[in-house]
Symmetry: C2
């Protein structure tokens, strides 16, 4: 028996209509490349995103055509976030931190027809232009320079619209946007989000227990809008009409802290590395900013317990989300359960440092050779996901179908444990676990413990081949400026928390660690550097 | 182009699994008929709802079969809320306040196969049993009496399950539950909710700007679970694992206030009448309860400004939802927008007293003969709705299809205005508007103004036929106990707020007003009583 409810598609046009009509005066503030601020409102976004949609249709955009963006976080990118999907196109955010050849590969694989690009990124575009096949390239002019031949000006492009845009009748399962994973190994893999998945994920981020983005918020996505749709924050903020603050290309701690103070930011989201540098900047410049109370969203990599504790000491509440490009990304949240309300601050920080429990509508299981692992906080297995905003395949890449189990779960390649309350702790990436004498050692546990050391800025622990034990851990350390550290001191520091066989056999001090374009440790590169390591004795 | 996301149905089994696995110890407290409290946890609900599902399947329940409930708000009703739909059945909550003949009509129209009934409601069942055709009648035994012949005991029924229930593979558009409107006129009309509509509506109630039900909450639905699924509160609370407090048959203010205090309720929901009696009880017994800060959800009828102000004076925040059986019910919320934060308390109360702006995913328009009305706060029109949890038809009632416009909007029969901020104010039901000399007078406006009078307990304003003006307003007043009021005093009281022609021509003082089973004013009955009214002079 079917119900008598309307068949009403969940599409992005609904969000744009709602924001434009009910929150026309709520602000969207963008940091321009020249550091000045651009301010406008949802009424402007509403008008211009629809103009972009109409202009794209006028330029020949057909249902399902991909339109690429190569942009920082700002209002024009937000216009593309809505203007492309509501026209029936597919927003494809290119990751400007990748190598030019990789960007070109991704644009070609997705068969992007058009490109919208920041003028400040034209030097990057110049490096890919002979490798790609964009029919039209539209340039957002921040500096006001004349557009070179073969390029079009974004404002002139918008002016081709008459203001009479009409929404096509979209089905919620049609493609709205796509992202390629910034995977540390292998070929880039595309995930195509649907209108439905984007809208449900937006809805999720407006629930109390999962970031609770609301109309009263001022949201600062430090995470790039080309990284899993900026974790969906701009889409969620628009759904409820929150003020948005977009940092443009300026991701230095000082610039971000200025925005937090002057725009009274209530929610800011970024990877742990960003929060480390913000905290460092605050410590070095005490009293320089008068900051509002903020909810700090951390994702992209697990925050260490030390980071959680430092953020709490600054009076900020931390909310952690865990997920992947393939899960839109939010799959679990480290929410504190009602009965933990009176736990000690330390216990709560330990909960906050975990990946957490599955959000509504997402199913999670952790599997090893024996099936689902027990909830004992110790037994490791691969984390697998299912849900309405989890990918069922990659775009045009059947060779990767073994990333899904025969019964339809996505295999995340992350290894984790589940404790007796159901909280997931990510122990490692499958390939980053250290297999020592038949036992597994978690590189993430060692890294987090090292990060609690007051003189350590960053730490990576990797497996290095060993003649006797198969693999043994090596810790690669970046010390704080001017700090001095010894291997023995670090071994003593870790000893109380680990079994002796789990301790790194060597500590190597370096100036900096390699990162992916999204700020994650690039362990594959580190492992490569250490492939010829010679063990002493 | 389709996306690459999983086709993952939104079904109630997901909520039950989530609550059972991640919040097994969160409590569900029910007031028994004998006033004692029954306490158990989501782990129990999880086990017993699945047992009910298995037992129903064992009893021959087929996909789409309707199972009726005739129950108060308590844990067994909650088990039916989940156990019936997850088995593939359709939960049909019968409204126990209707006339027996009407209940029988509704059960027969829905073709209910089974009935689950409270033993304390068996006297009511006895009055319908010869009119209906339930194959099996299962009795929840609160008093422990032996079940009479032809009836089955609920606990024994659950015991027929072996504990090996497996979820059927349900599509999200299959029916999950149904309610009939308690309409004040016309034949009862059934609305069939889908798994999808229930889950999306549950999700809505967990968002910050729309009641924000969260894991830390303790939720007391005073609204009956047979009234539009108790406004969806129990479904939302289960999705996020909130503690639930269910008042059983005891809806007197004292009993409710005891629950609020002893169970530390954070959210309570009821019609304005309930809140009036709770406030009256508090005023008569100052200091008797040590109440926690609460969010008060008001629905079912518009709260007067006076009620909003009184609730605020008690330190409670009021959140109003407006909607209907046909909209699940939440369609609009009187949320305060970010830029109103610094408005005066009085201005905010005025916002809170409106029906509000549409919630995410619901579209609303107000139509008169000229099309959509302007947002001027004055022009009246019929409110029409569209959205994923809005009905597209009634169950088996094609004669009522004119309740939908040719372009697919549901016609609510409510008349409203929209102000320049987009807030809907319900002016009247279409049929309750008073047409006087070519102008419209809102009975609701007059009633709300009268309710601000300290000596008035309840007020209804109705249209009475008039030889000259077509219709003129008559106010029917219930005064507070012992209070004395005169028509002239009330006319003077209203004068500053209304044009002279809008004032009631007569004030009639009565002991009580007629209500529908869900506490709404039964104006049709009042109009009937006044149909032979003779105007003086």
């Amino acid at each position: 028996m079917q119900g008598t409810m309307m068949h009403y598609s969940l599409t992005l046009s609904h969000s744009l209509e709602r924001a434009g009509k009910f929150f026309p005066n709520a602000e969207i503030v963008s940091r321009r490349p020249d550091h000045t601020l651009h301010r406008y409102s949802y009424a402007d976004l509403y008008r211009r995103a629809r103009a972009l949609a109409e202009a794209l249709q006028g330029a020949g955009l057909k249902r399902g055509d991909r339109v690429a963006t190569l942009m920082w976080n700002h209002h024009a990118h937000l216009e593309a976030y809505f203007g492309i999907p509501i026209a029936g196109g597919v927003l494809h955010t290119l990751n400007l931190r990748l190598a030019p050849s990789e960007i070109a590969y991704i644009a070609n694989h997705a068969q992007d027809r058009f490109l919208i690009v920041d003028d400040v990124l034209l030097p990057l575009y110049a490096r890919i232009k002979d490798l790609v096949h964009f029919e039209r390239v539209i340039v957002v002019g921040w500096s006001g320079r004349t557009t070179a031949s073969g390029l079009e000006d974004y404002e002139e492009f918008l002016n081709t619209a008459s203001g009479s845009f009409r929404y096509p009748d979209l089905d919620e399962n049609e493609a709205a946007c796509m992202c390629y994973t910034s995977g540390t190994t292998g070929v880039p893999k595309g995930v195509v989000y649907t209108h439905r998945s984007v809208m449900l994920h937006s809805f999720l981020l407006t629930t109390v227990d999962n970031f609770g983005i609301c109309n009263a918020d001022t949201v600062l996505p430090i995470v790039s809008m080309f990284h899993v749709n900026g974790w969906g924050l701009s889409y969620a903020a628009t759904l409820v009409g929150s003020k948005q603050v977009l940092p443009g290309p300026h991701l230095k701690a000082e610039s971000l802290l200025d925005l937090c103070e002057k725009e009274t930011v209530t929610v800011a989201a970024g990877v742990p590395t960003v929060w480390h540098s913000i905290l460092e900047c605050l410590d070095q410049n005490p009293g320089s900013w008068n900051l509002p109370p903020m909810r700090v969203l951390v994702g992209g990599a697990a925050p260490s317990l030390a980071l959680v504790q430092r953020l709490r000491r600054h009076g900020w509440s931390l909310e952690q989300g865990w997920g992947l490009t393939e899960s839109s990304p939010q799959a679990t949240t480290s929410q504190i359960k009602a009965h933990m309300k009176n736990w000690t601050e330390e216990e709560k920080c330990e909960i906050k440092a975990q990946a957490g429990i599955p959000v509504p509508f997402v199913e999670r299981r952790v599997m090893n050779a024996d099936g689902e692992v027990p909830w004992d906080g110790e037994t490791m297995g691969e984390v697998q996901l299912r849900g309405p905003w989890v990918a069922a395949s990659y775009y045009n890449l059947p060779a990767e179908n073994d990333k899904w189990t025969p019964d339809g779960w996505f295999r995340t390649s992350d290894v984790g444990t589940i404790n007796d309350e159901g909280y997931l702790r990510i122990v490692d990436r499958t390939k980053d676990l250290i297999k020592s004498g038949g036992e597994w050692i978690s590189s993430v546990d060692l890294e987090n413990a090292l990060l609690a050391h007051p003189k350590i800025r960053e730490a990576a622990v990797i497996a290095v081949a060993h003649p006797k034990w198969q693999e043994r851990p090596v810790a690669v350390i970046v010390a704080n400026e001017g700090a001095r550290l010894s291997a023995q001191a670090l071994r003593d520091f870790l000893s109380p928390k680990f079994a002796k066989w789990q301790l790194p056999d060597a500590f190597v001090f370096v100036e900096e660690l390699p990162h992916t374009s999204t700020g994650k440790l690039l362990k594959a590169e580190l492992r490569r550097r250490f492939q010829d390591w010679k063990w002493e004795g």
